[in-house]
Symmetry: C2
Subunit: 555 residues, 2 copies
């Protein structure tokens, strides 16, 4: 009993066998800490769903143990679930200045104003009874990203967070390799969890700085054009580089897109972005010549409502694409977005713009370590046990194989699933049991109220629409007093199919005509008969299966 | 008048600024011919739509002129609209033996048995009054693919169809370069239309034969494994190569997936596929050891209902994936399918299979010419005028630039849209006018009956579901006799939201209570008031906007 209590439990609640909603629980004795609380964006089949967050019922059940949430960095897939988590569990939150500020903005939208937000620096430690949680700087596609080392008397649990090794970082902040090595030497890293996003990609990810050179080449060539650059709002180093190149070529910078404007504000305020008077208001772009302008915009993923998509569709109020404009898409399409990005590019080209995307120029780099960097990380940390995290199964598997290659013993490497409990102590590690886990769907204000039945109905409605049949019956003798009335939506264009609707009414009428009078009062029977007969009729006539909703009323 | 009549009209009805539904009209004097009649698969936003075909109203209007449909090859994007076209316009159809057989299968499904199908060979000409239509062999990812030369007294209109230049084709049938050169020399090619699919890809597409070598390498290594190969059913040369390598390694071949079984039957019957007793029934695979088996399957695009996806999800009745299986995906994901393919791969890996896809081994080649081949085609044909076809705008543009590079005069190159009329004769070419064009949506048996209203409703229903409100009123005094009854679907899980439904009932009741008695009879007014008030109520409560359907009845 006491012995079991000495084991550290590591429980991923999100981020395994998926991209997104990263969240990891570490439990030791009577203390629980949570690393990250991210969201993921819904897959296509989750109709109408806004975002997806991890199931946190294990944390709610053990609320008294939870000592804090420790944030690696400020991307949505690491902080997006914070408002939902804090509503249930108002524990202290720790993260870098930028992470905390981005959380603050998010909480404001949710009208949460009692959160206990704490800014920490690199090498800062938050000391608990049995654990001490240390933040260690890494490089990533957002400034101020940390990995996290949890010191215990059993050894250190090290979580890399999302990272890359950028030897020429924009802000001069190298990954703190020294500290990782030091911990490994002095205490030993018992278990490492590491970012698997690019575990199937050979070599090393290029430095963010290489993007600057790529941009400069394009700016140089396009000396007569207005330049529009689409990128991720949160990549502040990218924004810095665009602003720097703009300045070099005497161009003013204007910004379009709500998230881009917001983050620019935060970044300037916190001093993450060095800019000066060459940032102008988007309303003032008409005061400058084309070759005096750069517009930085959202929409690098082709999102239909984004600023770039609106420009491409001539729906942007302030920016009209014209012949000669150079549009630079400084991003890769995230898997699943290839078609929307391609659509936007086609529209931009049709309007006469030149479009340069990252497949033909060096204008984007990933924020995630590739295989050579992952091997370096193994060399720094030298973990005894290894748990690949953050990735689909194929990435986790590749990462496990890589760890094996560089010398981690095969039996010390674990590929597990969200909700699995990995128990680890000085003597060993093993998968032992599960806790509740899964995805909670957020739709509007609803948290988890959209389940499989609602989704199944939405899918049904989306494919074939519906037909509602209303009949009012007499309470006395069950005869029809009004109806059958039929209303359909999303099924057929009614004017073209009057015969079909009339035929459907006849079917319903005949159900009543042919019904044994004793059964008139068995509404379930009548409704099912109407459903069955209409379904067959409509399928024969149209090869479609609308949802059929019979409604009976009695007066 | 007579002069205008001498002009040849070239009218693309599909395939421009899009991938798919290829169809080109050529009209000269009182004769019209149609090259191809393809379908495209619906984009995500076309909810519930099965397939999309071109608008053929121009052909229907000019039915007396239409002399025939000339098919380049048997892919769906070239023959998929045939049943719909022939139902309106039963004109003769010409194509290769394979194309015609695939059309015959398709027409059978549609119970069309009076089609005038004609098999033609390479260099065969179909002579009309003013045009003579010649079929010229090209290479593509389906056997027996033709380009089409239309001979007229103004010169030749040459349509490459989909093509690549495969110098080591599987069936020995080289593209008929000689005939193209001969026509160019003797008659001159007035206008060329050419496949733009790979116009943005440098170099040349590899020979289909290279795939055989890639497969052999994998078969050699996996000497203990069962091998499963997923590929496109219509790529019969690919099937031949898989069968050949299987034979080399003493493996029997079984086939899974309806379209794969069908096409294998057609191909064997017509002699396109040389196989012998080493093809076995899928029911007999248990009689063989793993290393004596190859299973060829559909599902290379991750289609959810395909045989491979069913294997990955443990839903396949005859094939269960097990540790050690080698799954070879001999295809590239078509843009938009990346995620579904990735999902299938993850499931296969989780079951312990090894998966090799075309990004890590030479096991797939495209059927479309890349830039070097497109330049060769320009060199063979030496067209005076050039019209890039088959591709999104960005591809058409790249193809136009390529033509310019190799010497076609810029003013002789046309980037036009579906429905545009390109008039051409010996003296010149120009865009002149438009004919009706667009997409016709097929949903079940409905051809074009699903329009924007139905699609908008489906989208609305898919995102937030619906709420139906039924009230029965008295004819005499307008008071409520029954209801309000409320039924919702796809909105919220009702058990969790009884208060919400009760609240909604109260709102509806209060609309009646507060309504001026004179207005009770104005149903449009009442319905709109119910809609508005419920909409606001539900949005405040849920931040969702279900479709609201008020139904009033009178007895």
């Amino acid at each position: 009993m006491a012995k079991n209590n000495e084991k550290i439990k590591v429980i991923p609640l999100g981020g395994l066998n998926e991209i997104g909603k990263n969240m990891t629980v570490i439990e030791y004795k009577d203390e629980i800490i949570v690393i990250d609380a991210g969201l993921s964006f819904p897959e296509d089949e989750l109709l109408g769903i806004d975002i997806v967050i991890p199931d946190i019922s294990y944390l709610v059940k053990n609320a008294d143990k939870v000592k804090g949430i420790f944030i690696t960095h400020g991307h949505e897939d690491h902080i997006g679930a914070m408002p939902y988590l804090l509503k249930k569990l108002n524990v202290p939150v720790y993260g870098s200045a930028l992470s905390i500020e981005l959380i603050r903005v998010k909480l404001k939208d949710h009208r949460i104003n009692n959160a206990k937000l704490n800014i920490v620096g690199s090498r800062d430690q938050v000391k608990l009874k049995h654990m001490s949680v240390e933040f260690i700087r890494v490089n990533h596609s957002i400034p101020d990203a940390y990995s996290i080392a949890v010191h215990t008397n059993q050894g250190v649990i090290y979580h890399t967070g999302d990272f890359k090794i950028d030897l020429t970082p924009i802000d001069g902040g190298l990954m703190d390799i020294h500290r990782i090595c030091q911990i490994s030497d002095e205490e030993g890293i018992l278990l490492m969890m590491a970012d698997s996003t690019n575990a199937d990609k050979p070599g090393s990810t290029m430095s963010e700085k290489s993007v600057g050179a790529g941009l400069e080449t394009l700016f140089k060539k396009a000396s007569d054009s207005r330049i529009i650059v689409a990128t991720f709002a949160s990549n502040i180093h990218r924004l810095q580089q665009i602003a720097d190149v703009a300045k070099m070529y005497n161009r003013k910078v204007a910004v379009s897109g709500r998230s881009m404007v917001n983050i620019l504000g935060v970044a300037k305020e916190l001093g993450y972005l060095e800019t000066d008077e060459h940032i102008i208001d988007l309303n003032d772009i008409h005061k400058y010549k084309d070759n005096e302008l750069v517009i930085i915009t959202t929409g690098s993923q082709g999102e239909p409502m984004s600023a770039l998509a609106r420009m491409a569709n001539s729906e942007h109020k302030k920016v009209e694409i014209k012949k000669g404009d150079l549009v630079i898409i400084s991003a890769h399409p995230i898997p699943g977005n290839e078609k929307t990005v391609s659509k936007v590019i086609n529209f931009l080209l049709e309007k006469g713009a030149d479009v340069v995307s990252s497949d033909i120029a060096d204008i984007h780099v990933s924020g995630h370590a590739r295989r050579d960097e992952l091997k370096l990380m193994q060399a720094f940390a030298k973990p005894k046990f290894f748990l690949p995290v953050h990735g689909e199964f194929k990435m986790l598997k590749k990462h496990a194989e890589l760890a094996c290659e560089v010398g981690v013993r095969e039996e010390n490497i674990f590929i597990i699933s969200n909700g699995d409990v990995l128990e680890v102590d000085r003597r060993g590690a093993r998968k032992n049991g599960r806790v509740p886990s899964g995805r909670i769907l957020i739709d509007g204000l609803g948290v988890g109220d959209v389940g499989n039945i609602v989704l199944r109905d939405r899918k049904h409605l989306s494919e074939d629409g519906l037909m509602t049949i209303v009949v009012t019956l007499s309470k006395e003798d069950g005869r029809i007093l009004a109806g059958p009335d039929i209303i359909s939506r999303g099924f057929v264009y009614v004017r073209e199919s009057e015969g079909l609707i009339e035929g459907a009414k006849d079917i319903v009428q005949s159900v009543f005509d042919n019904c044994d009078t004793r059964k008139i009062r068995e509404w379930a029977y009548i409704k099912n008969t109407i459903k069955d007969e209409l379904k067959e009729y409509l399928y024969i006539k149209t090869k479609r299966n609308p949802m059929i909703l019979p409604i009976l009323m009695e007066v």
